[in-house]
Structure formats: structure tokens, C-alpha cells
């Protein structure tokens, strides 16, 4: 447009009708942009991206609080939900009843997911105390050197990950969840997984 504005011959008082056409061209470009932006799905705040999505889950080998060995790669065949937890974090505490409800929901169906809490930066005793007081009988995995959290790239607690029966990471939720949200999400994945 600038080019148009300056290349007018000095001696010509005649008017070329260029402005409407240039405006129309720009309007078309902006219209396309507008449509793209209007259709851009608001990226869901509840599902966070990770380079691990749709890739095999990293190795996670440890022991549970009651002394049993834990190896994520041996959980293939079932849906696994990992919840990274810290007993001092308010959102984790707020989320806990939802996890209890979620565990109950999954226990009541045939292909229910296995729920594991992974301790993140917290003394084992504090977590054990929390579970003793507030319920929850699913296994609690120790992660003393933070290896599991590091392997998954956990940014902040609470963070919840879903791993499919072939050991592939399908979802990362870096915020608090509700029981219904998680169960619905799993149902969707099961249908896709077939």
C-alpha cells in the first residue's frame, strides 16, 4: 500500500481507485485470521501438554510405602493413573476426597484403572499419616530421589497422569481433578483404545 501511495505520478490529478481494492485484499486476509482465531479451541486449562504424550512412559521403579516393589512397566495390561502428591500442598489436600471417590468408581467397574500416589518431596511418614486420617487404600509409591517426578517432568503438585494398557502416556493433568472428570476421561480413552 505504501508503494501505491508514493508511486502516483505527480502530474496526474486523476484518481485511481486503488484504496477499495487494497482494503478488500487486507480485509480478506484479516477475515481468514479472524476465522482461524474464532475457531481456535481455547486450549483446555485442565490438560497440559508434555513431550511424553503418546509415547511410552518412562521407567519408574521404586517401592511402595508398605514395602512392596513397584515397577510401572509391569503394570501393562491395565490403565494406570499416577497422582503426584505432597501432604503440605493445599490443592493436593483439597483434591484428596475426589481421588477417594475416583478409586471407588474404578473399583466398581470391570476394567478399572489402577491408582497410585507418588510422593513428591515429602517425608513418607507425613504422607502415611495423611492417608491414615483421610482415607485412601491405593498403593503409595516412594520417590525419595525424585527420579519418577523428574522422569515425567512433573512441574508442580498435584499432577495426574494417565497411562494406557500398552504403557503409553495418554494424558497429563497439571491441576486438581475431580473424580467424574478422571472417570469420564478414562471412558473416552477406553473407547478410543477399543
Amino acid at each position: 500500500m505504501s508503494r501505491q501511495a508514493v508511486s502516483d505520478p505527480v502530474e496526474a490529478p486523476r484518481r485511481r481507485r486503488t484504496a477499495p481494492f487494497v482494503s478488500l485484499a487486507i480485509a480478506l486476509v484479516v477475515a481468514v485470521l479472524f476465522i482461524v482465531l474464532a475457531n481456535g479451541k481455547a486450549s483446555k486449562p485442565d490438560v497440559t501438554s508434555s513431550f511424553l504424550l503418546n509415547r511410552p512412559a518412562p521407567a519408574a521403579i521404586s517401592t511402595t510405602l508398605d514395602g512392596k516393589p513397584f515397577d510401572l512397566s509391569r503394570r501393562k495390561g491395565s490403565w494406570v493413573v499416577l497422582n503426584f502428591f505432597q501432604s503440605t500442598c493445599l490443592p493436593c489436600k483439597a483434591e484428596h476426597p475426589e481421588l477417594v471417590a475416583f478409586a471407588a468408581q474404578q473399583a466398581s467397574i470391570a476394567d478399572g484403572a489402577e491408582l497410585y500416589t507418588v510422593i513428591k518431596d515429602d517425608p513418607d511418614s507425613a504422607v502415611a499419616k495423611w492417608f491414615a486420617e483421610h482415607g485412601g487404600s491405593w498403593p503409595i509409591v516412594k520417590d525419595d530421589d525424585g527420579a519418577i517426578a523428574t522422569a515425567f517432568g512433573v512441574a508442580q503438585v498435584p499432577e495426574t497422569w494417565i497411562i494406557d494398557p500398552s504403557g503409553v502416556v495418554v494424558s497429563r493433568i497439571a491441576t486438581t481433578i475431580t473424580a467424574d472428570f478422571l472417570s469420564t476421561k478414562l471412558d473416552q480413552f477406553r473407547r478410543v483404545y477399543g
Binding site: 500500500m1 484504496a19 482461524v36
Partner: protein, 659 residues
């Protein structure tokens, strides 16, 4: 508690309604009065502006009061307030989420409208002024509507459940004093562009696209640009001092959103000189202002709708369609007006030679526009791909760095050449003469950088051109001060040269820090010094600290046996978020930048740290300050120079402007 509750909400709602009504009546009244030439109605219009200002002031004051008194009955206070937030961060929590930041935008807009009204209250019978104020009223009304309706800033919250709500602002927004300055200054810039935009639209409506509206708004555009510049630089500083990743700019969508209007505004500040001097590029200048303003709205949309992933995004999806719709209306109306008026308003002047001041300004405009286009494309590209192919991609720093580097180098080259070019036409003789010393400055800069061991083509080219451009700017300033004494430092041309010096400092600092930063990770143990980059680092001890909202650990590390620096990790208990705080030893040549890694253990006897050695960073902040000083100098004398005979302000009228 409940009485005060409803009181804040009720007063807030009432204030917003008052402001909305005032703006709607103001816009309608002023429009009707102008069309029908109704003097009596015209005289009543300023009152609507004062009322809108009162509405916005009261709304912000009430929200601030609710924050300070911890009135958790309001949904917004539940979202960003907490009992433990310190006073400073509790105050700044006003703009730590969507509702409050729109309120702040609103207040600034109402203030700007009132100032324009106050200064022009006796000139309302001038259609140009009247239509400009109509536009200001309409924009202000939109923001009143936004904060009253769709986002409902004063919505009553549910009964607060203190286990879930009232956690306080995002930890990153309660960690550094800069939160007090960066957002408001940035907003002053964003909102400031409404004024020149309003006058540009008024010029199109009235058909008075001559230079009158330029005189009315050039200082507004300049100061808005200055605020935006300072806001962006402060954002870089914040990122560097708080976020702890060691960088200043990450090409995040929201950073781009502030950079886009900056680019088009910078183009405007240059091309407007061509219009003032030669009467050319009239429609183009209007288009640049329209682009700048609509990009601020688009930027707000990108930030606030959650449509793009970003560290700054507030995940609130309800407001997006309104902002996008407003953006569409602005663009449609502006383009319609340009299509309608454009041809009649164009000046028939032509550029005599590409090697001239106006030719250089034109090149500058083309490059800035291309730059803006590249940044816009990169920012929305993920959405385009998602729309076409239903897959998600990310466009990251490599794309912007690769395309931005040649553009930056071209701009440096223009900065070296353009200031010495005369208007109309330049001969080679004259160029050789005028570029002699600047070119030697460039050669000197190149020689020095090679001597201190710089390598790599791109940074060396940048250093050479930086020296060259600095030489040109200094030459202009020297000549000007020799002629006019201290007045040689003020005025647009001379102040502009000071701004150029600031830009050059930033360009050189960016080239150096992007090319020569070194980083290494160490696990420090007390009493075991580590050598890196010619310095020794020794861990003294790890210290734990606790306050109401956080616990943390800091590592006291001495550098070369001197003062202890204390990078820290703070865990905000309400969020479970770990926020690293770097510790920086600034130096004129190198910054030593220490961060503590999140894997540090509270009980540990060792500290995992990252040590960055970053060259010339301090010159980014010096350059930014110089740009601010230059902006003030550029806007300084004004009145005395605006005599009608001033050859710079008086356009060369090549034909009468048709109305």
C-alpha cells in the same frame, strides 16, 4: 462481614453502570451534536467524560478496597486474594488476573479520554476533535461493558471454602517488586495508542487527512510508544530477575502480543516524519495507527482468551469472543473508511530517489511491517495448522530467532545510513563525506570485538553495524549540539538519535548474550570451591526460610571469596509451586547468574546450581533507560517549535485537500 461484602459489590456494579451509561450518552450525544450542529448539546458533553472517569476510578478503588479488606465475598477476591499475601503483592493482585486487569485498562482509558476532553473542551465544535472523542467514548464504553457484563468483575462468589479458594495471586506475581511497574506501564502504552487511533479515524470520517490530526496526536503516539518500550524492557528484566531461566525474551505469545503493536508503532513514528515534511504517506500512516491499535486488542484477545498456550495466559474463556468481535469491528470499520476515503486523501507526491531520507523511512516501514507480519504469523501459526490439519504444533524461539536476526541486522544497517541522508536526494559524494566517521566507528567496534575474542559471523556483523549506527547517531547529535547547544539534544530528530543509541545498545547486548552465554551445572558442597569461567564459587551453607505463604531454601555462595549471593527456591505452600529466584552479580561486561535447581533438598548439604556467564546484559537495561530518556527528549520542546513557519511541521501542500 456480609454488609461490607454486598457494599463493595453493589458500589462496583453501580460505578460500572454509571461509566457505561456516561460513555454511551457521551458518544451518542457528541455524534448527534456534531451532525446537527447543536451547540447546547455540545457544551454538555464534557460532563459525560468526567462521569466515566468517576465510574472507572470508583470501580478500581472499590476493587482495591475489597482486596485490602480481604472481602472474600467477591469472586475475584477469592481468585486472587489470600490472607497471607504481603501488602505489596496484595495491592498488585488487582492486575494479577483477568477481571482486575481489564478494570485497570478501563481506568487508564477513562483517564486518557478525560485528558483529551479537558484539553479540547473548547474545540468540540471542530468535527475532527468531536469524532475522535466519539471513538474514545465508544472504546471506553466497550471496556465498561466488558467488565460489567461478560467478565463481571464484581461478581459475588460462592461461600468461600478456604481449603480450595483464596490462595492469593499466582506465585510468579508475588515474588518481585517489578509486578508493581511492568503491567501498569505496559498498559499505559497499550491504552495510549487509543488516542492517535481515535484521531486517525476522525481524520478519515471528516476527510481532513491533512496534517492537523498529526499535530494533535504525535506526542500521544510518541509517549504511548515510550511507555510500551519501557514496559517491554521491564518485562525482559522481570523475566531475567525472577523466572530464573537466564533469558530475557522467550517469544512467548504474550510477549509477541506486546511486541506487535510496538513494531507497527515504531514504523509509524518514522513514517509520520515523511508526512509532516513532504505530505506523503497519509493513508499509510493512518493504516499503521489502525494496525497498532487493533494489534493491542488482538494481543489482549490472545492473552486473555486462552486460545494460545502461554506463561502469561489467564485461562478464562468467556471473554474471548467479545475481544475478537471488537477486533473485527475495528478492522472492518477502519478498512471500510479507508476504502471509502483512501483515494481522495492520497497525496500525489512521489519519492524522488530511493537514496534519500524518505526512501530510507520507506525501507524502514517495509522492514518493520515484514517483521510484524513474521511475528504475527509465528504467533498464530499453531492455530492455523490446528485448523487445517487438526494437529498441534509449537512455533518456538528458533523460528523467530532465525527470521528476526536478518531483520535486526537490516534495521541496524538502516540506522547507520538513514540519519545522514538528506531529504529528496543524496549524491554519492555527500554520502561518502557524511558516512566517513560513522564507518570508522563501525570498524573500531569490529576491531575491538575481534580483539576481545568475539567470533561468529552474525554477532560480528551486528557489532560492526552497531558501531556504525552509533557513529551516525553521535554525528547527528554532535552537529546538532554544536549548532544549538543543549537544544541540540531535544526535539524529535535529536531525541530520536538518543533513542537510536539505546536501541543499538540493546541490539549489541542481545547479539552478545545470545551468542556467547556460557552455562554449566555444578553440585556445590561447603568448603569445596569450584572454578568456572575465571571465577571461583564456594558454597557457604544452605539456609531454610519460612513465612506465612511459603517455605524455601537458599544457598549462600561466595564468588571469588567476596560477597555471598543467594539463589533460592521458594515453595508456595498454597500452590505447591516451586519458584526459583536467581541471584545475579551484575557487571559492565559479564553477569554471573546463579540459579538453584529445584532438586535441592531442604536437609541437604549440597546445592545443585546452574551458573550462567552472560555478557553485556546490563547494557540491555541501560539501553532501555536511554530509549526512555530519548523519548522524553523527543517530546520535550514542542510548543516553541510548533510555530506555523516551522519548515518541519508545515507540509508541502501539493494540492488542496478535498473534504
Amino acid at each position: 462481614m456480609f454488609a461490607s461484602t454486598s457494599l463493595n459489590g453493589v458500589i462496583g456494579h453501580a460505578a460500572l453502570i454509571l461509566g457505561l451509561a456516561a460513555c454511551v450518552f457521551g458518544a451518542l450525544g457528541l455524534g448527534i451534536a456534531t451532525v446537527t450542529n447543536d451547540r447546547r448539546l455540545l457544551r454538555s458533553i464534557p460532563n459525560y467524560s468526567w462521569m466515566a472517569l468517576v465510574g472507572a476510578l470508583v470501580a478500581v478503588a472499590v476493587m482495591e478496597r475489597a482486596l485490602i479488606t480481604r472481602d472474600f465475598s467477591l469472586a475475584y477476591i477469592q481468585q486472587v486474594g489470600s490472607r497471607d499475601t504481603p501488602v505489596l503483592f496484595n495491592t498488585t493482585a488487582l492486575w494479577s488476573a483477568l477481571e482486575g486487569s481489564i478494570l485497570m485498562w478501563l481506568l487508564l482509558l477513562a483517564i486518557y479520554t478525560a485528558i483529551i476532553m479537558r484539553r479540547n473542551r473548547r474545540r468540540l465544535d471542530d468535527p475532527l476533535v468531536a469524532w475522535a472523542l466519539v471513538v474514545m467514548f465508544v472504546v471506553t464504553a466497550f471496556f465498561f461493558l466488558l467488565s460489567f457484563g461478560p467478565i463481571d468483575a464484581f461478581k459475588a462468589g460462592p461461600t468461600p471454602d478456604f481449603n480450595r479458594c483464596c490462595l492469593g495471586p499466582n506465585p510468579l506475581l508475588q515474588n518481585h517488586i517489578l509486578v508493581l511497574f511492568h503491567p501498569p506501564i505496559l498498559y499505559l502504552g497499550f491504552v495510549g495508542f487509543t488516542v492517535p487511533f481515535a484521531f486517525a479515524i476522525a481524520a478519515l470520517i471528516t476527510g481532513r487527512v491533512g496534517e492537523g490530526w498529526l499535530l494533535a496526536t504525535r506526542r500521544w503516539a510518541l509517549y504511548a510508544w515510550g511507555f510500551l518500550t519501557v514496559g517491554i524492557v521491564l518485562g525482559g528484566w522481570w523475566s531475567y530477575e525472577v523466572l530464573g531461566w537466564g533469558g530475557v525474551w522467550g517469544w512467548d505469545p504474550v510477549e509477541n502480543a506486546s511486541f506487535l503493536p510496538w513494531l507497527t508503532a515504531t514504523a509509524y513514528l518514522h513514517s509520520v516524519l515523511v508526512q509532516e515534511r513532504r505530505g506523503m504517506l497519509r493513508v499509510w500512516n493512518i493504516s499503521l495507527l489502525v494496525a497498532t491499535f487493533s494489534l493491542t486488542i488482538l494481543g489482549t484477545f490472545i492473552t486473555r482468551s486462552g486460545v494460545l498456550q502461554s506463561v502469561h495466559a489467564f485461562s478464562n474463556g468467556t471473554i474471548g469472543p467479545y475481544l475478537l468481535g471488537f477486533f473485527g469491528v475495528i478492522v472492518a470499520v477502519s478498512l471500510g473508511l479507508i476504502a471509502w476515503r483512501g483515494d481522495r486523501l492520497r497525496s500525489p507526491g512521489a519519492i524522488d530517489s530511493p537514496v534519500s531520507r524518505e526512501g530510507a523511512f520507506l525501507a524502514n516501514n517495509v522492514i518493520f511491517t515484514v517483521f510484524a507480519f513474521v511475528v504475527l504469523l509465528g504467533t498464530v501459526f499453531p492455530l492455523i495448522v490446528e485448523a487445517l490439519q487438526d494437529r498441534q504444533i509449537a512455533v518456538g524461539p528458533p523460528f523467530f530467532d532465525r527470521l528476526g536476526m536478518p531483520i535486526g541486522i537490516t534495521l541496524l544497517f538502516l540506522m547507520a545510513i538513514a540519519p545522514v541522508l538528506p531529504w529528496r536526494k543524496a549524491g554519492t559524494e555527500l554520502l561518502r563525506d557524511r558516512l566517513f566517521w560513522p564507518a570508522w566507528c563501525g570498524a573500531g567496534a569490529l576491531a575491538i570485538s575481534v580483539l576481545v575474542g568475539a567470533d561468529g559471523l552474525a554477532p560480528l556483523v551486528a557489532f560492526f553495524l552497531g558501531g556504525f549506527a552509533a557513529g551516525s547517531a553521535l554525528r547527528q547529535l554532535t552537529l546538532a549540539t554544536r549548532r544549538q547547544g543543549w537544544r541540540g539534544l531535544v526535539g524529535r530528530a535529536n531525541g530520536g538519535m538518543v533513542v537510536h543509541l539505546g536501541v543499538i545498545m540493546i541490539a549489541v547486548a542481545l547479539a552478545a548474550s545470545n551468542s556467547y552465554t556460557r552455562v554449566a551445572e555444578f553440585t556445590l558442597q561447603p568448603g569445596v570451591p569450584v572454578s568456572y569461567g575465571g571465577h571461583t564459587f564456594e558454597l557457604q551453607r544452605l539456609e531454610q526460610f519460612t513465612d506465612a505463604r511459603s517455605t524455601g531454601v537458599k544457598a549462600l555462595i561466595t564468588i571469588d571469596g567476596g560477597k555471598a549471593y543467594a539463589p533460592a527456591i521458594t515453595t508456595f505452600t498454597n500452590f505447591g509451586t516451586k519458584v526459583p529466584t536467581p541471584s545475579v552479580r551484575n557487571g559492565p561486561l559479564n553477569d554471573l547468574y546463579l540459579t538453584l535447581e529445584p532438586s535441592v533438598r531442604f536437609d541437604g548439604t549440597e546445592a545443585p546450581v546452574k551458573i550462567f556467564i552472560k555478557p553485556l546484559i546490563v547494557w540491555l537495561w541501560i539501553g532501555g533507560s536511554l530509549m526512555a530518556v530519548g523519548t522524553v527528549l523527543a517530546g520535550f520542546p514542542g510548543r516553541r517549535r510548533r510555530v506555523p513557519t516551522d519548515p518541519v511541521s508545515a507540509p508541502i501542500e501539493l494540492e488542496p485537500v478535498s473534504v
